[in-house]
Amino acid sequence: MILVLFAIAVAIPLVLWSIGKIPLSYNLRNLTLRWKTTVMTALAFTAVIALLTVMMAFVNGMKKMTEGTGQPGNVLILADGATDETFSNLNVGDLTEIENLPEVARQNGRPMASRETLLVVNQLTPDPAGGYKRRFLQLRGIEDPQLSARVHGLRLLSGGTWFSEAGVQEASAPESKSDEAAPLIQAVLGEGVAHELGRARSEEELAEAKNRDRLDVGDTFLLGERRWVVVGVIDSAGSTFNSEIWAKRSLAAAMFGKDTYTTLVLQTEGAATAKQFKKFLAEDYKKAAVNAQVETEYYKSLSETTAQFSYAIGFIAVVMSIGGIFGVMNTMFAAISQRMGDIGVLRLLGYARWQILVSFLLESMVIALVGGLLGCILGSLSNGWTANSIVGGQGGGKLVVLQLAVNADIIATGLFLTLLMGLLGGLLPALSAMRLKPLDALR
């Protein structure tokens, strides 16, 4: 759809150029002659388009994250009535029953089921402005990490391992400052949260760090009065899991006072089976009431917030484009009033009215194109920036660390908008130029 609009937007000036008899060099040279005005007008377009590109990249990053999470063959189970994992409380008895249903895939006789408890905990971090501040982190308590990893289709980056059965390891004596060397809780981090946690390191810590960009295997951090150690980093490839900390459920749940499971993820044979299974659980399964969804659908529903953002961005784009349109209108009116002599001459020489119209329309579109193109380039620099956000709504929401993603659609939208602004802004002035009587123009 965007590509169609973009093609139209590009086609218009090209068509105009080919049918116009007044040489384009006339317009270009006038633009260069009045370069200060041209630059100021074009920069207004640059500001609008650059901003728009960054905002769209942000929303695109959010969308990619939510759409890139989940397996189509998995079914996600939450407690009945819970719309968010954090508000869900599952009954263990029900879980065992459900896990043993025939639709659930099995490996080595065990059901491919991941029992999880999602907790949101806060962590005290030093505030660059002085003092401390708290941030919220997603902690997923897992029973059997290897099993869960297979269910979710996640791998670790090389050099890491999953946490052990016990979930803790001994603190090596020199590191520990306290008298009682409490065992370190083992954790596996998503890349995004590893990056976030890594940002809180001091200059000295960074100098010695294995990886300046993020926490890596062997690094430790404080959470909830215990020290935790990173044993692996998840290669989560742009899913919401990259903003999570995984650790042994029994430890995490006990520490933070949540003793029920929040989530059960079941692997089935494939997408079709998953859909059937979800339907069965939602409608026909009577033994327990649960909220069952195909995993990819659940994560997609979280992108409800992206829809809200998109509306806000659309609104801002429209409003700011008014600035660009009226700005170029001012410029073109002034240019025409200054070049009335030229217009009169051209008409006298036999150039038709519509050719005058086309010429001035092209001129305003050239300004728009140059400004907008620069804006697209500037805006694209934001590609890969990391940003915090929350996806999902309704009182809950996942905290995610996402990457802004600029793609072809975004660039096409930016160019389309700038050409549209140029066309709309240049239309009225060009029409007025067209309607000038040659002899009045020459007076």
Binding site: K36, T37, M40, T41, L43, A44, A47, V48, A50, L51, V54, M55, F58, A79, D80, G81, A82, T83, D84, T86, F87, N89, L119, V120, V121, N122, K133, R134, R135, F136, G224, E225, M255, F256, G257, T260, Q308, A312, I316, V319, M320, I322, G323, G324, F326, G327, M329, N330, T331, F333, A334, S337, Q338, A387, N388, S389, I390, Q394, G395, L399
Partner: protein, 416 residues
């Protein structure tokens, strides 16, 4: 001011251009005003106050914060044990509840999240409700009195009244959702809150709530509701100053009676700050990308318009010099013209924004955290002209300087 007449005439010389410039400024100042209003309120609530402010006691590590109700009593006394320990000036308990009007089909409109508390605290402990103008204050007191009188009464904010299409006096049946499943409550709407910040609030009697939790156990063979053990979500304590806060916080956090779960005591400002951390980058973008982009655009458009205007009038400016006007006077003339355009446009924009958003729409709907609506502060009325004025001064400085430097000799025709 002899300039004023000349300035007005010049602005009127090309009405279209002046109009276009003003329109752009009005529209872009509008966006900046929206953005700054949101940022302003967020800054306000996250700035540490120094006198008569509130502290918040919540669970130390986990979200959502869930504390046993038995904590309420000792906390209301600030965990004071030893002589010399201080107590808070006032306290308020908050117990969250969420329910829907339609259990089979819940939507955003028919879900109500509310708090169970002591009714009289609504007037003393809620920021924004404790300093109302006289008329609204008496109305609030009346509503609260009704709430106290009617055990199953509820005060609903305007948004809820609108969304559920109910009025004061009607009844409401809520089915608990999510964590509150199993707790179904019945209410009679006895009052509301002043329009603005508390449009999405619902408040009811904590006695009723606690009784219902007990009744649940009775209905289920003694099995308690999962929330019953920890139904208190947070407590708000009022302290006179920072010194008192620090002492109170250390009293509470070091007290052994709050060990399971552990609690923390922080200022409201700090608590809200933490919650906004997740939106840190979004807020940064609004403050340093969005608003500046609009400002830059205003500046460019005004600069463009003025420089075109100066260019067209070079001959006239030369004539003025011949007549005896000094360079600095020409500078003032151009700057004055630009300032007039910019600040008038800014004022119009601020006025319209304030009027339309606050009275027409009831605030900016921007759901971030638990904030729902942002009103435009009165300060915005001077932001508008300030932005317009400053942008025009900056933007027109170079063209004005060039106007100043026009050569009087230009007045004479060139030799062919």
């Amino acid at each position: 001011m002899k300039y004023l007449k000349l300035i007005f005439r010049n602005v009127g010389r090309n009405r279209l251009r002046s109009l276009l410039t003003v329109l752009v400024t009005v529209v872009l100042v509008f966006v900046v005003t929206l953005v700054w209003s949101v940022l302003w309120l967020l800054d306000q609530v996250t700035t540490e106050k120094s006198q008569n402010f509130s502290a918040m006691v919540t669970e130390r590590w986990a979200i959502p914060s869930r504390l046993p109700f038995s904590y309420a009593d000792p906390l209301s006394r600030g965990a004071a044990h030893k002589p010399g320990d201080i107590q808070p000036l006032d306290s308020m308990t908050w117990q969250f509840y969420g329910g829907t009007l339609d259990a089979k089909n819940f939507t955003r409109e028919n879900i109500i999240f509310g708090i169970a508390c002591e009714p009289e605290k609504l007037a003393t402990m809620m920021d924004g409700l404790n300093d109302l103008p006289a008329e609204q204050e008496s109305q609030l007191h009346e509503d609260i009195a009704q709430l106290k009188a009617n055990r199953q009464g509820v005060n609903l904010g305007h948004n809820h009244l609108d969304a559920t299409n109910k009025r004061i006096g009607e009844r409401l049946k809520l089915t608990g959702i999510g964590n509150f499943k199993g707790l179904d409550l019945e209410f009679e709407i006895v009052g509301t809150f002043p329009a603005g910040r508390y449009d999405t609030l619902a408040a009811f009697n904590r006695d009723y709530y606690n009784n219902e939790l007990d009744a649940y156990a009775a209905r289920n063979n003694g099995r308690k509701h999962p929330l019953a053990e920890r139904s208190l979500n947070l407590m708000v304590l009022k302290v006179p100053d920072r010194a008192a806060f620090t002492r109170l916080a250390s009293q509470i956090e070091s007290s052994p009676e709050f060990s399971n779960p552990a609690i923390k005591c922080e200022t409201m400002a700090s608590g809200i700050s933490s919650m906004l951390e997740s939106f840190r980058d979004l807020i940064w973008g609004m403050r340093w990308l969005l608003a500046p982009a609009c400002l830059v655009t205003i500046l460019l458009v005004i600069a463009n318009a003025i420089s075109i205007s100066v260019r067209e009038r070079r001959l006239e400016l030369a004539v003025l010099k011949v007549l005896g006007f000094r360079p600095y006077q020409l500078l003032i003339l151009v700057l004055g013209e630009s300032l007039l355009l910019g600040s008038v446009a800014g004022l119009i924009s601020a006025g319209l924004t304030y009027g339309i958003i606050n009275w027409g729409l009831g605030g900016i709907s921007f759901p971030i955290g638990f904030f729902d609506r942002f009103m435009i502060p009165t300060a915005a009325l001077w932001w508008g002209p300030a932005i317009g004025g400053l942008a025009s001064l900056l933007g027109s400085f170079l063209p004005a300087w060039s106007a100043r430097g026009v050569k009087a000799a230009n007045v004479f025709s060139k030799v062919a």
